[in-house]
Chain length 714, copies 2
């Protein structure tokens, strides 16, 4: 064990000979220390037991199911393709091993380890947070700070700045596994335009490929793809195709043949390319841990970027395996042997389970290998890095192919570090009300682990959504950086126009509201990422009342807004906890109703027809008229709603939205300051954004006095 | 179509030639009518579409998942063994086709039909409640009344009085699939006694049987069962064994041989006894629709009543079928044919799904037959009656065997009508917080459909419960007539002593509180059943504010109490909506803290260590000292907590708790009336219950004046 101290005071405990994960990139080591941690090694595993007080909370752990406070549940970090997000599921697609124990002492922990870790967060025993690390070689970072926010900021700094998408990635996207051909895609686009619903782009699922093969385009269904893409782009519409991790084994398929020739695939123990079965049937998995493979695969996106594509989603990269090795043969063998027998019930269950449990077996991951520094390492030992390296590979390729132009890139599997290369969607959820509520709780936890370009499949991926659920979900998702309505093949249609007329009208209102909010959302995104702060914060990070800790279906967005979506059917509103006096805003197509809500608990009416949020006191909220896409957003007449009793300041960040020039200081700032005077407001605007010419102010104070002002700014 | 009017005004619409279900037993037909309903027949199905206004609510539908207001979901009445109660599951164990549309007009509907009905309660289109009846022969009852309560009462009357269990059935029961032998059962009992936790009895799951065979007792694990049972009973402990629907096919097994000899089993289309596979391997299903079979099977319980058993649970009586016909052979055949092939993904899914979906296929139920009035009728056509007739059979047998002594009898599958013969548990739920919340919502809906002796598997059947969830669940379950903690084999132990010391202490407090409440719970049970009123009422049945309609995690128990359990982890309390001023009671081992809560919304502290409920104004709540079981409950010194501003009355019902003499008027009544005078209370007690000698009163008014009084009553 070796101990170091980073410049920011973070202690680093190094055990054994860890595999370097690239999770931590900054925070130069400063001094050596002699401390040790109270941890136990047994049978090659490490056990850590942290005593908890009844009032302690646990925050973080990223994209896991459960509350904002992670206490009272089991978790497992082992990236898994899990289609059924039921309440007691311990592992999903991500491995996000940063958490904060918050109580009398508040301390952050990051376990930098690329394979399985299990957490029992006061589940079996309410007095302990028990952690089992499946190995002996890892780093533990212990991060101290005055509160959760400071600790998180320190952590965000050492893991490096998050991925920055283009501004158009903040638009509304429609998606569905099952837009089978160009006509169907075109029809979706037409339906949006005809119904006056803004639309930024359409995600393409496996349907566009030729026989599930990466970097192919079906000649039959998506012929003349370049022309098709160009035509849509001319209308301001982006296509975002999927790329899967596995490469189909097929003679004559160039990616397969290049992969074999270039030695790019993971191997089995005999040294032959490992075969798993996924969508295309038998596949090989690129060994993304090899730099040459990263480069090779990353540049393959050229097939699509050459057609004008600038956005991708990397899927199945846990990696998901339907079956591998001889598991299926064994299941069939056992079935044959069972034939004609009067099976007892346990033999029957075995027979059935052999088939039911074929997917993603631990044994598959133990039986294929990566090459790291010339050494063979089983996927199991570095399992959680597969999605990371695939997305890094795509990022390297796209950066190269798109030459300084930003691109949209999201991944399903992830570990900390991947946040620098792409965003994530929260995986294959269902059209369940509980998943809408889960969506809220996941957002601040993901931010804490570095992931900012995030969003759930709005309306739910699996199952049949209905109009009410879609509308309620949109009332949350219009605040998330990634806003995508996505559903699975076989489920009912889930586009805003697929339900009744009321649903269409309400969804349109909400998507238009999203576009009105983009300047604010983009500004908050960029400031959070660039300043290493949270975009979505638990109430408890700002307010210290007990209720702020317990209310987990509300959260703060930036420093200005509180949001409190309705997550239940048949409700005309919900209980909202106001940790301080706030301004209630019912935002409808840039029109709005406002009213002041005092500190405490109130039942707030919240129908389906508008967007509701709350502005904190002495805060400034900027917005614009909606548009049909980001390109057409017009900031010339910026509007500001402000709730000011003494002084409020806001800095609206902006940049070109498409290049990386902002890293060289080429960004815009609109600083707005409002001072309440005895019977007027003093407004000071310092604007260097040429696209903003006028600002219209609507300012309200606690006494409900409303002032309107208009200022020319440029 | 023929239309009649019952004496209570209920309209009966008869379509085609319905199979008589025995659901409706009273309400003599009075007059013929000429009305018709607006329904459509197509392809042998019937479709009914009811237009809904946005504010309409739908109540009823019994043991389905979803809210108290059934809008916004899909339901299916087709009794099914469903182990995974996820949010979008449409069908479970019961078929409870009574519902009320409540709005401008409030009307009750009962569809008397023994097989599949599907409901789309404003799911795909928020403006319609669509019903699809899978047939053309059925009755529809349309029940009018001034409100939901009156309509429900009328319905409860025509379906006949609910089952009355013995008073001991209101105690606390421990259960687990996996108490493998007498020693393990004895150990459970000892643990309860050593820890001072009241215990009424222990449920025995399949473990006690010899090789899953009904009416056998394992010689190896439960030898000398009669002696064992007697010994426990002497200590005041009841055993409640399980009985499954399927009878093992095994030469030499007497039940099987008698069944064959007596022609008691359902037939396949060739007229041979139908073979399905369940726990014992191949089984035949008794044709409970035949009266001779009912009598035959019912009297088989004698094997166990002769050992002193007085309670049973009928399981797997949807009936559940792991596989039947040649479905398994076909799956194996397909597997053989797949051997060695490079399967495309769809062939692979088919191979896998063949095994995964073997259980409870529709085709099984279409391929076995009952004999009704000498005619062959497929199980599919009368599917929802199987649990009903099995439980009727048990009831007939036990009534005969136990000669006027009441017995505990619950069933998993049920349809309306079965409520007269036994209670139900709500099936194989999971250790999920959402299932605790679901439990609340199911209770009033079940009451509306006639089921009063009801309760969920406290702590959850599947999955691993923890101490917090068990404690929170007990805080609800101590109010339900059936109080059973039950868990599945392979899950962690779930007895109150299986967690930490705090969990033990808190559970003990709560179970003791249950015993303190039994006089009230028993009284409310008997009054509800005898007067055809609800024991558990939605708030909206009493209060007309919009919030009363939307708050579904609170309900009324009797006319006196409101309960509001905590259904989330990590909470020190919850929001409670008070539709009127109420008295908050924190009940701890007969000691209590009280405080007045005004109308409105408040955050109520609710820890794990006590039981919280709310007493309505001008209400009287009686309780006693806790005891270790029902037999030892001592009512000599009855206590009363009353919250009185003007006048309050309560009638405490009691009887011998074990015979049916109450039907002949042999019951006790303790009428308590409290009048608030200017500076005193007038108390009038009219008591004919010899076990109650004194009553100690604690009376509080809205001004927080507390009075103590003691009265001798007998």
């Amino acid at each position: 064990m070796k101990t170091y101290k980073l410049e920011d005071g973070t202690k680093v405990f190094k055990y054994g000979n860890p595999i370097e994960t690239e999770a931590v990139v900054a925070g130069k080591i400063k001094t050596k220390l002699e401390n040790d941690l109270d941890i136990k090694f047994e049978n090659g595993h490490c056990e850590i037991s942290i005593k908890l007080s009844p009032k302690d909370a646990v925050y973080g752990l990223g994209g896991n199911l459960g509350g904002i406070n992670k206490k009272g549940r089991l978790y497992e970090s082992y990236c898994t393709d899990e289609p059924l997000h039921i309440e007691d599921r311990a592992k999903l697609y991500g491995a996000h091993n940063f958490f904060i124990i918050s109580g009398k002492e508040t301390i952050g922990y990051f376990i930098d380890f690329p394979t399985r870790i299990k957490y029992d967060a006061a589940y079996y025993n309410e007095n302990y947070f028990n952690i089992e690390i499946y190995g002996q070689d890892f780093y533990i970072y212990i991060i101290e700070g005055k509160d959760e926010k400071e600790i998180t900021s320190k952590f965000l700094k050492i893991i490096g700045r998050a991925y920055i998408p283009p501004k158009w990635a903040f638009g509304y996207f429609q998606s569905r596994w099952g837009y089978r051909n160009k006509d169907e895609v075109r029809k979706v686009y037409q339906n949006f335009r005809e119904n006056g619903i803004p639309l930024e782009g359409i995600y393409l699922d496996l349907d566009y490929m030729d026989d599930f093969k990466d970097f192919t385009i079906s000649e039959e269904r998506f012929d003349d793809f370049k022309e098709f893409t160009a035509g849509l782009k001319e209308d301001g519409l982006y296509l975002v195709p999927i790329i899967d991790a596995g490469v189909k084994v097929e003679e004559g398929y160039s990616i397969y043949e290049e992969g074999i020739a270039g030695d790019h695939f993971c191997k089995d123990k005999e040294g032959k390319p490992y075969e798993g079965v996924v969508w295309p049937g038998k596949v090989h998995f690129p060994d993304f841990m090899k730099e040459e493979t990263q480069t090779w695969f990353g540049l393959k996106y050229k097939v699509l970027t050459d057609c004008g594509i600038e956005g991708f989603w990397n899927d199945m990269n846990e990696p998901a395996i339907f079956y591998g090795g001889n598991a299926l043969d064994e299941a069939i063998q056992y079935a044959e042997e069972s034939k004609g027998k009067n099976l007892d019930v346990f033999s029957y269950f075995k027979l059935k389970d052999n088939f039911t449990n074929l997917a993603n077996k631990d044994s598959y991951y133990q039986r294929f290998y990566h090459e790291i520094d010339g050494k063979r390492v089983s996927n199991d030992e570095v399992h959680n890095l597969y999605g990371y390296y695939m997305t890094k590979s795509a990022n390297i390729g796209l950066s190269n192919l798109l030459k300084g132009k930003r691109f949209l890139l999201i991944s399903r599997a992830s570990s900390i570090g991947m946040h620098r290369y792409g965003g994530i969607w929260t995986g294959d959820n269902s059209s369940w009300w509980s998943h809408l509520e889960q969506n809220i709780k996941m957002l601040p936890s993901l931010n804490m682990c570095g992931f900012f370009y995030i969003g759930a499949d709005t309306g739910g991926f699996g199952g049949n959504c209905n109009g009410e659920l879609l509308t309620r979900w949109l009332q949350l998702s219009v605040f998330t950086p990634l806003l995508r309505n996505h559903s699975a093949i076989g489920c009912n249609n889930q586009e805003p126009y697929a339900f009744t007329k009321d649903v269409l009208i309400n969804s349109r209102n909400l998507i238009k509201a999203r576009y009105s909010l983009i300047p604010y959302i983009y500004s908050e995104y960029m400031k959070a990422v660039n300043h290493y702060t949270l975009m979505f914060k638990p109430l408890s990070f700002e307010f210290k009342e007990n209720l702020a800790k317990e209310i987990e279906d509300q959260m703060l967005l930036g420093n200005e807004l509180m949001i409190a979506p309705v997550c239940e059917s048949n409700c005309s509103g919900r209980f909202v906890y106001f940790p301080e006096e706030m301004l209630e805003v019912s935002f409808l197509d840039e029109d709005m109703a406002i009213s002041i809500k005092e500190k405490g608990i109130q039942y707030i009416e919240y129908g389906l027809e508008d967007l509701k949020f709350f502005i904190r006191k002495n805060s400034i909220f900027p917005y614009v008229k909606p548009s049909k896409n980001v390109k057409e957003l017009n900031q010339e007449n910026l509007k500001v709603l402000a709730y000011v009793d003494s002084e409020a300041v806001y800095e609206l960040y902006d940049d070109d939205g498409e290049s990386y020039e902002f890293t060289e200081g080429k960004s815009y700032s609109t600083k707005i300051k409002i001072n309440k005077k005895i019977d007027d407001y003093e407004i000071i605007v310092d604007n260097d954004n040429p696209s903003i010419k006028n600002i219209s102010f609507k300012i309200i104070d606690s006494n409900n006095n409303i002032e309107h002002k208009k200022i020319s700014t440029y």
